[in-house]
């Protein structure tokens, strides 16, 4: 019996790269490392133009508040530090490094010969913080902060390998190629939290990965590999917790509030590497796919590599794409520039043509068919939220729990009337959040306390 949740959509998986082994990208001539690749405060550069850096060297740190340091992903010379606008509209500073081709690794990075029993929670958290690891499923929440905030609260530890978005196979390949390090990473985290039993949760379209992990575990019963039904958005933290424990996590709460802590499998793998090998997060697996890519691949690419290099490595385009999407097709971000760098949260680069899944171009109209209601994993009524948002009645949106929307896109995916549901609900959420922030600013004390609690 596979674990699952209510709502969601079954869709064409397009996992065309599932059988393609991870290939290492030839070292790029330049890398562009943004100083903000995570949720929290941006980093400040610790190097100057003209400095020589080693691969793995810290080049930016967060001085105060939540955040992760960033590292040089190649060895070479800092040629530029510039401010650019990201596709999400934020300004971000980035460090450009000209590769000297020597691949000179920082001296501290080597296997330290320790075993899981030798590591204390503090050591682990510090190693993870220094390695700059943030959630690699796309959310990019600093991992050290997740670990320390869940210490003492977590009773269940779950490795999220659902990978429910179409196209993406980065976690799938990692489980097939590095099962031991994922499992050891999980065991390390189990020790840190003092949890006896760990779970690796996988959708049932990746049974080969399930077999591989079970084979690697052998007689070891401390880790359970759990199979979930393939359905989008199973990889959403709330839906994973519900599928495995039956607990519904309220909007605004963290998994730790219900005793759960969840890590993406590539995050877990990098925790292992950070703690035992001293290796910071300077490369990641990126699925390069889509119907415009000549030869879709899974690529291990240094952070900061231009996505155009990845596409070239896949043989270029078969036709000029209409869209370049970073991340999955359901929640990823369309890009205007083909030279944006791979960051810690980039699990996929998709090049999609105009003909891909084109909808009839008749003007959109809600038919009131209720399909959006039946697929919403948060059990909202997207049609009414969108309708009120369109009428600028944001108070009603708030009353009908617009803020619970996780923007998974299931409603807009299924809508036969082609209504831009997510866009409208996002608009409402933005207005509601702005209003709440303004209220919080006006009424200082009690509201501030609330914010801190969060």
């Amino acid at each position: 019996m596979a674990h699952t949740f209510r709502g969601g959509v079954h869709m064409n998986e397009y996992k065309i790269t599932a059988s393609k082994p991870i290939e290492k990208l030839p070292v790029p001539e330049t890398v562009v490392v943004p100083l903000s690749q995570h949720i929290g405060a941006p980093c400040t550069a610790t190097v100057k133009v003209g400095d020589t850096v080693d691969k793995g060297q810290i080049i930016g740190v967060v001085e105060k508040g939540l955040g992760c340091p960033v590292h040089a992903s190649v060895s070479g010379k800092v040629s530029k530090i510039e401010t650019v606008i990201t596709p999400s509209g934020r300004k971000v500073e980035q460090i450009v490094i000209e590769n000297d081709g020597e691949e000179r690794l920082l001296a501290d990075i080597r296997h330290n010969g320790k075993s899981i029993e030798d590591i204390t929670a503090e050591e682990c958290i510090e190693a993870v913080r220094l390695a700059g690891i943030s959630g690699m499923g796309g959310a990019t929440f600093p991992t050290y902060a997740k670990i320390s905030s869940a210490l003492g609260k977590a009773k269940h530890i779950i490795i999220n390998s659902a990978e429910c978005e179409p196209f993406i196979t980065a976690n799938h390949r990692l489980m097939l190629e590095e099962p031991k390090k994922i499992i050891d990473g999980l065991k390390l985290l189990m020790r840190v939290f003092g949890i006896e039993k760990g779970v690796i949760a996988i959708e049932d379209n990746k049974m080969d990965a399930v077999e591989m992990l079970r084979k690697t575990l052998g007689d070891d019963t401390s880790v359970e590999v759990t199979v979930m039904k393939t359905k989008y958005p199973q990889g959403d933290e709330r839906q994973i917790i519900y599928a495995l424990t039956g607990v519904e996590l309220k909007s605004g709460k963290l998994p730790a509030d219900v005793g759960c802590v969840i890590f993406n499998s590539e995050t877990c793998y990098n925790v292992y590497r950070a703690v035992f090998e001293g290796m910071p997060l300077i490369e990641r697996i990126v699925t390069v796919s889509g119907n415009c890519v000549k030869e879709p691949k899974n690529i291990l690419a240094p952070i900061g590599t231009s996505i155009s290099k990845l596409i070239d490595f896949c043989g270029g385009f078969t036709e000029a794409p209409e869209k370049i999407v970073l991340g999955g097709p359901m929640m990823g971000f369309a890009q205007w520039d083909i030279n944006v760098p791979v960051t810690k949260g980039t699990n996929a680069v998709l090049a999609l043509s105009e003909s891909f899944n084109k909808k009839a171009s008749t003007p959109y109209a809600c038919l009131h068919c209720g399909k959006c209601v039946s697929v919403c994993p948060m059990h909202l009524m997207p049609l009414y939220l969108a309708q009120h948002a369109q009428n600028k009645d944001f108070e009603t949106c708030e009353k009908y729990n617009a803020l619970s929307c996780v923007e998974c896109g299931s409603c807009a995916y299924i809508c036969p009337g082609n209504v831009p549901l997510v866009q409208l609900i996002r608009l409402a959420k933005g207005v509601i959040n702005d209003k709440r922030r303004a209220q919080a600013a006006q009424a200082p004390k009690p509201e501030e306390k609330k914010e801190e609690k969060k």
Binding site: F317, V325, M330, A334, L367, M378
Partner: protein
């Protein structure tokens, strides 16, 4: 590789289900086809004339309205064609074609377009048109021939009372339940074969165009009442058979009560809607002046859809557990 081509920026999701309004409507047309063919077999070519005329008029009115009001033309979504088909299905074959000129105008222009077009109308256009024609020209719409009808040779039209009219009058109907199931009775064009309508309904449910809730709740409610309160001294089962298989019940329950725009969006809401339609149908058939009540019942329930949606709003993910946690300490 042409990397200079302008890239499109748009919010997620970047994939969409292939299904669109037109495909949904096309499925409904497919589901109606068997009953359409059967109506030609039973009543002859006049059935085809009425249906084609009705579809053509509805599409024309929609096109003309949108052209005149300078709105985008949406006739290609097929929804007007369905309305046309359903209007014809609700008429006896002897209806004079000129009635359709008014009926289709009422459905498309008054009930649908004046309220904002597809997705915005409050009552089902085909139902409203049926009622409009029925009260305006009762003589045209309550004469039900049995079998082949040719307007130029009017002698061979054998008129008969429908089973429901007979029951209401306290008489045992001439036709058997089985005959009404297969469609060898007098009635409106599309309502006569329960079997073919059910087949169409099964197709729509399999294709996930509609869910089972409304038709099952609607039909079951009528069946239960007909079983426990038989008329004219027939047995409970026979009464149930007549009430379910003749009259507009099946056509209404499967094709008209399930109209997206004028039915609720949640499963619970759909059940409430179906039961409500069933109760009103029974009340009208038993207590009202008309032997046939499905259309009126659906139209009345149409008006309540907005309220049903409000009261059946699903519990948002995570909300109940929170209450529990507050009351009884931390949830496990």
């Amino acid at each position: 590789m042409d990397s200079n081509k302008t890239l499109t920026l748009s919010p997620s999701p970047h994939v969409k289900h292939k299904n669109n309004t037109q495909a949904v409507m096309r499925d409904v047309l497919i589901a109606l086809t068997p009953a359409f063919i059967w109506s030609i077999v039973i009543y002859g070519w006049m059935a085809a004339v009425l249906t084609v005329l009705s579809v053509a008029l509805c599409v024309f009115y929609e096109f003309a309205y949108q052209k005149l009001t300078k709105k985008p033309i949406t006739v290609s979504d097929c929804s007007a064609a369905i309305t046309g088909m359903l209007i014809a299905f609700n008429l006896p074959v002897t209806t004079a074609p000129w009635v359709l000129i008014f009926g289709c105008f009422f459905a498309i222009v008054i009930v649908k377009q004046l309220f904002g077009g597809i997705g915005k109308n409050i009552v089902n256009p085909a139902i409203a048109a049926r009622i409009f024609m029925f009260v305006s020209w009762p003589g045209q719409l309550s004469h039900f021939p049995k079998g082949y009808y040719n307007p130029f040779v009017s002698a061979d039209a054998v008129s008969s009372a429908t089973p429901l009219t007979a029951l209401k009058g306290g008489a045992v109907p001439e036709t058997s339940v089985l005959e009404s199931f297969f469609g060898q009775i007098g009635g409106s064009l599309g309502e006569i074969s329960a079997l073919l309508l059910l087949a169409g309904g099964a197709y729509l449910i399999i294709r996930r165009v509609i869910t089972w809730h409304i038709p099952v709740a609607f039909i079951a409610t009528v069946a239960v009442f007909a079983f426990f309160f038989p008329q004219a001294g027939v047995s409970g089962l026979t009464s149930m058979g007549y009430h379910v298989f003749s009259g507009g019940l099946i056509l209404g329950a499967i094709f008209m009560a399930t109209d997206y725009t004028t039915s609720p969006v949640t499963p619970v809401g759909r059940l409430i809607f179906g039961v409500g339609c069933g109760l009103l149908t029974v009340m009208i058939r038993y207590l009202g002046a008309y032997p046939e009540g499905a259309s009126f019942a659906i139209m009345i329930m149409n008006l309540l859809v907005w309220y049903i949606d409000r009261i059946t709003m699903p519990r948002v993910f995570g909300q109940r557990k929170e209450k529990k946690a507050k009351e009884g300490g931390e949830a496990k």
